[in-house]
């Protein structure tokens, strides 16, 4: 993916294999010698963290599926069976349930990182759009996964969300019947959700491959938001970024383990420990925390169809970001006005999340409307900013932004001497 490989197998068998399937060379050029901008900060470690989380979810998920029973009368009991009787079942289940949350923590950091440093701008538009698709698939996967334990929140969450599709004129009812596999959320719904919950992570894995492929064409953006020009702007992926990614990953896993081992139900809902009961509606139907901002947008709009469109629109609009942001400068570090609106957007998203967990009445609705307006307004503001904002002075090169002017001059000799030419 990184262009021509410089990899030369050392053994005869290696050479024989490589001339038939050059996969080791591909890995070598993508993850060993791949030239990364030397100024990447820790926000650039979240891509690796996300890859780890996807694998973690697939491994724990497949193990859960060995003991789980997708049937309306048995699903709840089978999850409890996993928690109580399966050896380390409690660990696998808590890893999977909290893993979904940590996956979203990482993806939100990753998305906001991209938004701050303008990573979506040319030539990385396709890369960005693939990211939005992964995000959508993750949401679908997590939503269907949450239905599987067949608790009260699973059942009623599924009912509320699938019902949204009935807002669409003409095709709405058909879509809902299709989702349910019947006339209400019931056993066929649970079965198809389990089937799709098993499938989608592998589709995500496929899109992740495209995502990384698209990344390795132009290479990573960086905090300065300027392209690499010479070899002294970059460092080889290994060992510099492998060790940095590993450190960040281990710290992230510590956070993950903190939840899993010490407060495993903090991110869940108590109601989901009550078995699904179509006759009893819970007092508050609240989605998982990672959906809350979008749920708040949905409820902010009084009209059902408009609400649904606004909710889907709030994610779809991200795909258009490369063309909505008109500024030529990528990095927010050099955009004083952008920075204010960006942080306001970030805080606004958190408040929307908080509002999504509150009942939809009184002041909460008004606050949700204001926040929804800013959510969409942000993209209009970005459009205008490109014309009115005066960016601050960009560094001449990535090396200069890290090492300063003198340092960068000194580094020429040093890196030229110490590093082999790794640019593909």
């Amino acid at each position: 993916m990184a262009g021509h490989s410089t990899y030369v197998p050392k053994t005869a068998v290696g050479r024989w294999f490589e001339s038939r399937l050059p996969i080791v060379g591909l890995i070598h050029s993508s993850f060993v010698v791949f030239p990364n901008p030397r100024n990447l900060n820790y926000l650039w470690t979240f891509g690796g963290i996300l890859a780890f989380m996807l694998v973690a979810q697939i491994v724990t998920g497949i193990t859960l599926a060995m003991h789980y029973t997708p049937h309306a009368t048995m699903a709840f009991g089978s999850v409890e069976h996993i928690m109580r009787d399966v050896n380390y079942g409690w660990l696998i289940r808590y890893l999977h349930a909290n893993g979904a949350s940590m996956f979203f923590v990482a993806v939100y950091v990753h998305i906001f990182r991209g938004m701050y440093y303008g990573s979506y701008k040319a030539p990385r538009e396709i890369l960005w759009i693939l990211g939005v698709i992964i995000f959508l698939l993750m949401m679908a996967t997590a939503f269907m996964g949450y239905v599987l334990p067949w608790g009260q929140m699973s059942y009623w969450g599924a009912t509320v969300i699938t019902n949204l599709f009935s807002a669409f004129p003409v095709v709405g009812e058909t879509i809902v019947t299709f989702l349910w596999g019947g006339y209400s959320v019931d056993n066929p719904t649970l079965n198809r959700f389990f089937s799709l919950h098993y499938l989608l992570p592998f589709m995500i894995a496929g899109v992740v491959v495209l995502h990384i492929w698209a990344l390795h064409v132009p290479g990573s953006n960086n905090p300065a938001g300027i392209e690499k020009k010479t070899d002294k702007d970059t460092l080889p992926f290994h060992p510099y970024f492998t060790v940095k990614d590993a450190l960040a990953l281990v710290v992230f896993i510590m956070l993950y383990c903190w939840f899993v081992f010490y407060t495993p139900n903090f991110l869940g809902h108590a109601d989901n420990y009550i078995e699904a009961n179509p006759a009893v509606t819970p007092a508050h139907i609240v989605p998982e925390w990672y959906f809350l901002p979008f749920y708040a947008i949905l409820r902010a709009i009084p009209d059902k169809l408009m609400g649904v469109l606004a909710m889907f629109g709030s994610i779809a609009v991200l795909a258009f970001l490369p063309w909505l942001d008109t500024s030529k400068v990528r990095s927010g570090s050099y955009r004083p006005m952008f920075r204010f609106f960006f942080w306001l957007f970030a805080v606004n998203a958190v408040i929307l999340g908080w509002l999504g967990a509150k009942p939809a009445d009184g002041l909460y609705v008004i606050a949700s409307r204001i926040c929804t307006a800013y959510y969409f307004g942000y993209f209009a503001i970005l459009f205008i900013l490109g014309f009115v904002e005066k960016p601050s002075k960009l560094p001449a090169s990535i090396a200069e932004s890290v090492l300063g002017r003198q340092g960068s001059a000194a580094a020429v000799g040093a890196s030229a001497a110490a590093e082999p030419n790794t640019k593909g």
Partner: protein
């Protein structure tokens, strides 16, 4: 950048603090108890779990099932710590419906350690019919199935303090929350007033009263713990917490090992990273 961030954060904080003023509910927040199982190093108090089981068996089991719990769980590591012999003897005091046998008949046999706790009623409808139309919920995971809203900013701190006792605290509050209905509130026949029950009108009569359950005696002939309704409530709540999370002790113990290892690993990686990057970093840059 810093300033803009601070400014927006201040706006957010202002909004968040203003909110509870218009979100006040009417059910009081259950008081917190000092549980032995609080925090990362918390463990269950075995004697408390044994007493709690006695309360469940002698009082609550008349109406509530606990269908996910087996007798054998009572002698499992990290639980009430009954011996296998005690569990076998206990199970044998129950008659369990089994079958069909080779002749096609259902039959009753003495319980075995592997049997689940038998339910007091044959089905939900029968349970509800016997209790004024309200089904007494299964208590297996009830300690995790009830909660109350912590609100901002507490829920943020809870991540660090690992506070997760909303459920058990609610159980104690519920079981000790019976009182006379305030003036103007009418309690229908067969229903009761409970301060902590959402909506206050509950179909469960006050199940606990002082002296109702006899506790094991210590060497000096006095009961191990006060035989009061309050103490019964705490003990049975602790027992229900264990029933809902039977592997809690194993979980926390493993967590300590895993996190200690990860901390060490992260430390080593930190120095490795520093060493490797020192080749290409000037003193000024990081």
């Amino acid at each position: 950048m810093k300033l803009a961030m601070l400014r927006t954060l201040a706006v957010a904080a202002g909004l968040a603090f203003a909110a509870p003023a218009f979100a006040a509910g009417e059910t009081p927040v259950p008081p917190q108890n000092d549980w032995t199982f609080n925090g990362p190093f918390g463990r269950f108090d075995k004697t408390q779990l044994q007493r709690g089981f006695k309360v469940y068996k002698e009082v609550c089991a008349a109406c509530h099932s606990m269908g996910l719990v087996s007798f054998r769980n009572l002698s499992q590591e990290g639980g009430p710590g009954f011996t296998a012999g005690q569990v076998k003897a206990l199970a044998e005091t129950y008659q369990i419906k089994d079958g069909p046998n080779d002749a096609g008949d259902m039959f009753e046999r003495p319980g075995r350690a592997a049997d689940r706790f038998p339910a007091p009623f044959p089905n939900k409808q029968a349970a509800a019919a016997a209790n004024g139309g309200a089904y007494p919920p299964d208590l297996s995971v009830i300690a995790k199935a009830r909660t109350y809203e912590r609100g901002f900013p507490w829920f943020v701190f809870d991540m660090a303090t690992t506070f997760q006792q909303q459920g058990v605290d609610y159980l104690v509050a519920l079981l000790t929350g019976y009182e006379d209905a305030p003036a103007g509130v009418e309690v229908p026949a067969g229903k009761y007033y409970n301060k902590y029950f959402p909506g206050h009108i509950i179909s469960m009569p006050n199940p606990l009263s002082d002296g109702a359950v006899e506790y094991p005696k210590t060497a000096d002939g006095r009961p191990q713990a006060p035989e009061t309704a309050r103490q019964y409530a705490k003990d049975v709540a602790a027992f229900l917490m264990w029933a809902a999370e039977p592997h809690m002790e194993a979980r926390k113990a493993l967590g300590f090992k895993v996190l200690s290892f990860l901390l060490l690993f992260a430390g080593l990686l930190y120095f490795t990273k520093k060493k490797i990057w020192s080749r290409v970093e000037s003193a000024a840059a990081h």
